[in-house]
Amino acid sequence: MTDALKDMDEFRIGSYAPEPLIFEQSGEGKAGVYVPDSDVPPVAPTEAIPAALLRRKEDALPFPEVGEFEVVRHFTRLGSRLFGVDANFYPLGSCTMKYNPKINELAAAMPGFAGLHPYQPVEQTQGILELLYHLRVFLAEIAGLAEVTLQPAAGAHGEMTGLMLIDAYHRSRGEDRPDVLAPSTAHGTNPASCAMCGRGLVTISVRDDGLLDLDHLRANVNERTSALMLTNPNTAGLFDPQMKQIADVLHSKGAQLYMDGANMNAMLGIARPGQFGVDVMHYNTHKTFSTPHGGGGPGSGPVAVAEHLRPFLPVPQVVCLEDGTYAWSDERPKTIGKVRSFYGQIGVLVRAYTYIRGLGPDGLRDLSEKAVLAANYLAARLAKHYHLPYKGPFAHEFILVPQFSEQGVTELDVAKRLLDYGFHPPTMSWPIMHCLMIEPTESESLATLDFFAEAMIRIAGEAAETPHLLHQAPHTTPVRRVDVVNADRKPNHRWRPEGESA
């Protein structure tokens, strides 16, 4: 940093200066919203509610008071201190950071959708029910499975729902199957979802070529096995050609195949999980169907099931009646119940519908093809400069391992250096140690893919020649490398006014 810049930094101006917390901008009497006065006869809270249940003066709501324009400037400045897909290439493996079409946002915000109360009578909500009904039919078609529930709130919630469906199925057959299998390279949510359902976890090995060890699976499937949770294409970015055999092994012992659909972006219109023998799968609409990620949510995790699991799906289900009208149906005697309040992440589902309806079957297939092409292109361009532990062809993502241990350069250093080039780093250190997992998606131009490849190649050169550049990276972001260890050691999860103790 030059002296002139340092000076500005101390002055707390300029784009890199810290933004004060909203609480530090409070001034008594300022207001961001003018709330109208009452037009009904006054009722003092003390007349309506026992004093012991009311806040008193000394424990009045301690919110700050800030003017509207200050709030606008504050959150606009925060918005500028953030990488988003619109401004930055975001090759974050397993997360499918694709372009989020603007019409998605417009659709979800339409008053005819956003302004609906969940308990309005269905005569008043026929349009949204029609949309949801068609969406669930579309998603079943894309999966090649029998029926879909739109209720789960996110991918992990879909996993939990799917495991509950499988459990209900086994119990309906008088079987208690306490164990769930998952490969060592599974998304962390898979084992965590097992725990949420009270299932035990059995880890299945992955071979050196990145595929599931079928022999190890065979040795571990038995009458205790509820299901195997498997991602396909898998978390190494490889289509597993053994899917059908895997399904057969499971089914021969009465177990089920659960497919984590996080990587569906690789096979829309190309292959369908139902054809692999999958019994249950979830979608991540915020990945595959661009609904978008929103800085961590909201997502949506619709679950598709094969015929024999339909009786157990959550209620209510959106249905089309014989007279062509739409309704919510609770008629499913063996249902697992509800997994969330109301019906689902409706605003997110509107976006998914908009995306699928806009693209149609040709557009969906085209995007999966291009997502796979882009990944293989980057892998080909980087193969000479980085170690690729698995052999292609890859699906929509691939793994590389920076090997600069002589210079003390880790995958974290490479990732942080990418920020200086304006790229969001790939997923780090997962599913194998020291790796970077790169998923370019179908959205990027060849120029952007090339620019990224060039940046990665330059960084490989820097790692060999000027490793300090990487160790100290990033240099150009609003803050320098963040001290995460200290954040855990001295937890500070909220602002408090000066003088107030925790």
């Binding site: 249940l53 800030v66 619109d86 909500t125 949510g297 309040s341 079957p361 040709d362």
Partner: protein, 447 residues
């Protein structure tokens, strides 16, 4: 094609670089009998112009609440949303960012979520809050599981005053876990503390009480907390964020964990989602909390910076030993709530809450004075109350709809002993004129 930028010429370059002849070569690894023959059976794609027309058609086939007068509540409320909320939360960087795993590229969202956590602590009177969960019902389930993980007891007592949808979700969640769920009955619209005293025993992990409860009545949360604590268990308070502006928050009434639905904080009703799960707790339970938590720290140059913290609680590190399986949360919705709370501030939110209380009480008085209508409970209430009628509930509500009034939510769908009742919610958006029109419509409904 739509949303991609690779030209035919680019594709040639790409195929050459990869060293394959055609795109199909890349999919050859999938056995031929498992590849889709032909096309997906979906309607053909639409241009943006056609798509917009289709969306307009579907939206127009609904009757949104802004064209009617909405007195519906029961877990989703028609509060005013300031225009700046949409404008600020709609910024493309916030909309299209990922989870802030790379702190240096995510200071904007991290700081906003740190502010969100602080707002939720201030609202609830608790020490720490997480950066959001899915919605109120699943947040309540997470709180019960968190309590179980803290004290390793296997029974939860839930007040029958809880939102019945939440109760249903709790039953689903616990069907696979060895957690026994017992409901505590109500008396006069409030949790029967005598019954609770008997139910809360040395096996009880937590006691869950919602206040204001599903019927709108303000509970004596402190008494429930005392009973939970006497039994050696934890108290979970399910709160309403608007009510917390004037009511004593759960943190001041003995709650160990506070959970709630954040939808009233500037989130559109959207037929029930996406909403906002809120969860806050006492400091000593920090490491048992589910979900993401943002902390303040510093960067290599000593400047203040924000980051995800305590990730060893979370599924991507801890896997089956994580405090929860939650990964994706409600980031953008939490941002909306943060902007809403910042705009409202102390005086704004307090005034909104006071208006709800005044208008709800005015409406209750007007309705109770009508022939054939009465208030089902005499307990104190905040924004919502149960009306009992000797007329047919469905016909009454339908009559009101002919006057473009959504008068309430019929309660017979959940409670057999309330087939003659409906739940009325009155927010700050309802005018005296609209409330008078509701009373008039009710009085004219057929007997």
């Amino acid at each position: 094609m739509r949303y991609t930028q690779l030209t035919d010429n680019d594709l040639k370059t790409i195929l050459n670089t990869i060293g394959v002849r055609s795109i199909d070569d890349l999919f050859a690894v999938i056995p031929a009998d498992q590849r889709l023959k032909g096309k997906l059976g979906l309607p053909a794609g639409l241009s943006e112009m056609e798509l917009l027309a289709e969306l307009d058609r579907l939206a127009a086939a609904n009757q949104a609440c802004d064209r009617q007068v909405c007195f519906l509540g029961a877990g989703a409320y028609d509060h005013y949303i300031p225009t700046a909320v949409d404008a600020l939360a709609g910024q493309s960087s916030f909309v299209t960012a990922y989870t802030p795993y790379q702190a240096e590229a995510s200071q904007g969202s991290l700081q906003a979520f740190y502010e969100f956590q602080t707002f939720i602590c201030q609202l609830t009177g608790m020490d720490v809050a997480n950066a959001s969960l899915y919605e109120g019902a699943t947040a309540t389930a997470e709180a019960v599981i968190m309590a179980r993980n803290i004290n390793r007891r296997d029974k939860v007592v839930v007040s029958a005053g809880i939102n019945p949808d939440y109760l249903r979700v709790l039953r689903t969640y616990f069907s696979c876990l060895s957690l026994e769920l017992v409901t505590c009955p109500l008396r006069g619209g409030l949790t029967d503390m005598e019954a609770l005293s008997g139910l809360a025993d040395d096996r009880t992990s937590s006691v869950v009480v919602q206040s204001p409860n599903f019927f709108g009545c303000v509970e004596e949360l402190q008494k429930a907390a005392d009973l939970a604590h006497r039994a050696g268990g934890l108290s979970i308070g399910v709160f309403d964020p608007i009510a917390c502006a004037i009511l004593k928050p759960p943190g001041a009434l003995g709650a160990d964990i506070a959970v709630g639905e954040g939808q009233p904080l500037g989130i559109p009703m959207s037929l029930g989602g996406p909403y906002l799960g809120l969860l806050a707790a006492r400091q000593q339970h920090l490491r048992k909390m589910p979900g993401r938590m943002i902390g303040m720290t510093s960067d290599a140059a000593g400047k203040p910076a924000y980051t995800l913290t305590l990730q060893t609680r979370e599924q991507h590190i801890r896997r089956e030993k994580a405090t929860s399986n939650v990964c994706t949360n409600q980031g953008l919705v939490a941002l909306r709530a943060t902007v809403y709370m910042a705009l409202m501030g102390r005086s704004g939110l307090t005034k909104v809450a006071s208006l709800c209380l005044e208008k709800a009480h005015y409406a209750a008085r007007q309705i109770a004075s009508l022939d054939g209508y009465s208030l089902r409970f005499g307990a104190p209430f905040f924004r919502e109350f149960v009306v009992r009628t000797d007329r047919d509930v469905d016909s009454v509500l339908e009559h009101c709809r002919t006057r473009s009034i959504l008068a309430g939510v019929p309660l017979g769908q959940w409670f057999d002993d309330m087939k003659d009742c409906f739940l009325v919610a009155v927010t700050e958006k309802r005018s005296k004129e609209q409330i008078d029109a509701l009373a008039d419509a009710l009085s004219r409904a057929a007997r």
